[in-house]
């Protein structure tokens, strides 16, 4: 499988700081897979995705060591314009990425930058508006819509550019529960399409885990664990110790394992349906 992102011995220290925000990070992300990145606050999650997007080192000053390659091209040596075609980044604060007067202008801005013609722009605009259901917002100012709508506009702006890698940095951090659900619906749809590499930084592990092919844990600037979700949650206590609270179902399954109610080989459930199945197995083992 093609490697979409290859990070080798990456270290980064922001200007005027004393400690490295990232330390000896090594990570490979395969093309068209879904990677969830979790970790407590201030551990380096946003810094890591900024390195993949190229904001670091292009837009920030600091000490940069190691390398980040996107589809074989070193990010450090690649222009921002080229990176914009390959990697799309949805910021945690959607307003931070708005630069235009209306939602429609916001959407077409990136498309104009990467050189699409008018027909292609129209086509991409309509597609992105439909996927994120913002067709009725196109004429509005991006600053005069609700938080959930802003986040959908921010996602639409990135999707419209059709990047091969889509990064979302805490896309649900500023919205209500229903709005969060809607964002995860979009993520689910993108994953089902299967033609993009998706990287999502998110605290909402309950909803992130079922979508993820791999989960990565960042702690103190280092990637301390990368594994499929069932392996990732195999030791809930170690996750809690590193500031990440696993899904309740994983904790429950972990307890069942520790008490011998589940066989060691049984996978850790990621959602309620899998947890019910695990509980049924445990009941059978208990009664047997």
């Amino acid at each position: 499988m093609t490697i979409a992102v290859a990070i080798k011995d990456l270290e980064w220290k922001y200007e005027n700081t004393t400690q490295f925000a990232l330390r000896k990070v090594n990570l490979e992300i395969s093309e068209n897979t879904f990677l969830g990145i979790v970790g407590a606050n201030e551990q380096g999650k946003t810094t890591l995705v900024s390195c993949i997007k190229g904001l670091i080192p292009h837009s920030f000053n600091g000490v940069y060591r190691g390398s980040v390659e996107v589809f074989g091209q070193a990010v450090k040596e690649t222009s921002g314009l080229h990176l914009a075609r390959e990697v799309g980044l949805v910021f945690a604060d959607p307003e931070a990425q708005f630069t235009a007067m209306t939602v429609e202008e916001e959407l077409v801005f990136g498309l104009e930058n990467v050189g699409y013609d008018i027909n292609k722009i129209r086509e991409r605009l309509e597609w992105a508006a439909e996927v994120t259901q913002i067709g009725n917002l196109l004429d509005k100012s991006p600053y005069d819509i609700s938080g959930g709508q802003k986040q959908r506009v921010a996602i639409a702006c990135v999707l419209a550019m059709d990047p091969r890698i889509v990064i979302m940095d805490e896309p649900t951090s500023m919205i209500d529960p229903l709005g969060k659900q809607f964002i995860f619906d979009i993520l689910r749809k993108l994953k089902e399409e299967g033609n993009r590499t998706i990287i999502v930084v998110e605290h909402n592990i309950e909803q992130l885990a079922p979508l993820s092919d791999q989960l990565a844990l960042i702690h103190e600037g280092q990637i301390v664990k990368v594994a499929p979700p069932d392996e990732f949650f195999a030791d809930p206590q170690s996750l809690i110790a590193q500031g990440v609270y696993p899904p309740e179902v994983a904790i429950f399954a972990g307890w069942l394992h520790s008490q011998g109610y589940l066989p060691d080989a049984s996978p850790i459930p990621r959602d309620l349906a899998e947890a019910v199945a695990a509980a049924q197995t445990a009941l059978k083992m208990g009664s047997g």
Partner: protein, 323 residues
């Protein structure tokens, strides 16, 4: 995929000259359809006959109504221009009640100008003193101030007309249509946005302070002035942060200062492409530009709009016996 939580129900959109207008059908049942919509700089009508005209035509109209009074000293002409502007606001379906926000400005400017000319009339032996009770005013500076005030009012209402019938997007389209480099029009757009955001941040800070019990009405004027100075600190730090964010956003979206796309060539302009100039537009542009040039030539070439030609001035001078 489910509907998002933010929609009330699907909105129907109207497209008028590239301007998508939210129709009344998108408003929840039982709620009166709004006639005006907010922009970063004020309010514009949702439906207006102005939208039948290209933004460049509206810009040409602004250049005439908003700038031409610079050439015109005659208060009579400026009052006529002002009345035409008010007529155009009405024709353009602008809700004049929204313009009440400008009343303090209109009153303050008048107060400031006439107070200044009363206190500091200047010194000229040719000035004609007029005694009003214990006070003395001088005819020439007062009439000049009177004429200047109406000139300012004509320009102000010309500007209000423009900002009340053009969204930010229309302004940018007009600038791009007259071949202003994209970077320049983009900077204008960001500046307009920054002004709106600055005001919003200011309001947020004020509300946060009021929420914590600050009562500015109980403060002395000097303390209020100090308070306003203190607002500058958070406002500037927020502005710097926003500038940083915008810079990152531009990088993330592949923006380059040259406006060139990868592999060379110019970037497309989707929004500009949605607007088309018609013969009617060209006709009005020619008329407004001709009027603008005519006003300049009439003033600087023939002195037609000088104060000495003002019928009101002539009448008052004869009334007061001023040669």
């Amino acid at each position: 995929m489910t509907n998002g939580p933010d929609e009330l129900r699907p909105a129907r959109l109207l497209i008028v000259r590239g301007m998508t207008i939210m129709a009344a059908e998108s408003v929840p049942v039982g709620v009166r359809a709004p006639k005006m919509r907010k922009t970063l700089l004020g309010y514009v009508p949702i439906v207006s006959p102005f939208y039948d005209y290209h933004p460049v035509t509206r810009l040409a109209m602004y250049i005439f109504f908003g700038v031409a009074p610079v050439f015109i000293d005659l208060p009579e002409v400026n009052v006529v221009l002002l009345l035409i502007t008010i007529g155009l606001l009405l024709w353009g379906k602008v809700d004049l009640r929204r313009l009440r926000i400008y009343l303090p400005l209109i009153a303050t400017v008048a107060m400031f100008m006439f107070t200044m000319v009363f206190i500091f009339p200047g010194q000229d032996p040719s000035y004609t003193p007029i005694r009003i009770g214990p006070a003395t005013i001088y005819y020439q500076p007062v009439f000049f101030t009177f004429a200047s005030y109406w000139r300012l009012m004509a320009m102000l209402f010309g500007t209000i007309l423009y900002f009340s019938t053009n969204r930010e997007r229309d302004m940018l389209v007009a600038l791009r249509a007259i071949r202003l480099p994209f970077i320049a029009s983009y900077v204008v757009g960001l500046s307009i946005r920054a002004a709106g955001m600055f005001m919003e941040d200011f309001r947020t800070i004020r509300e946060a302070e009021q929420a914590r019990g600050l009562d500015t009405s109980a403060m002395k004027l000097s303390d209020q002035a100090k308070l306003y100075m203190m607002y500058l600190i958070p406002l500037f730090s927020i502005a710097l942060r926003r500038a940083d964010e915008i810079s990152n956003a531009l990088f993330a979206r592949g923006y380059t200062l040259t406006g060139q796309v990868e592999g060379g060539g110019r970037r497309s302009d989707y929004i500009l492409n949605q607007y088309q100039m018609t013969t009617k537009d060209w006709g009005w542009i020619v008329i407004f530009m001709a009027l603008f040039v005519a006003a300049a030539v009439a003033q600087y070439g023939f002195g037609l709009f000088r104060l000495v030609n003002s019928p009101l001035n002539i009448y008052l001078r004869s009334l007061l016996g001023i040669p």
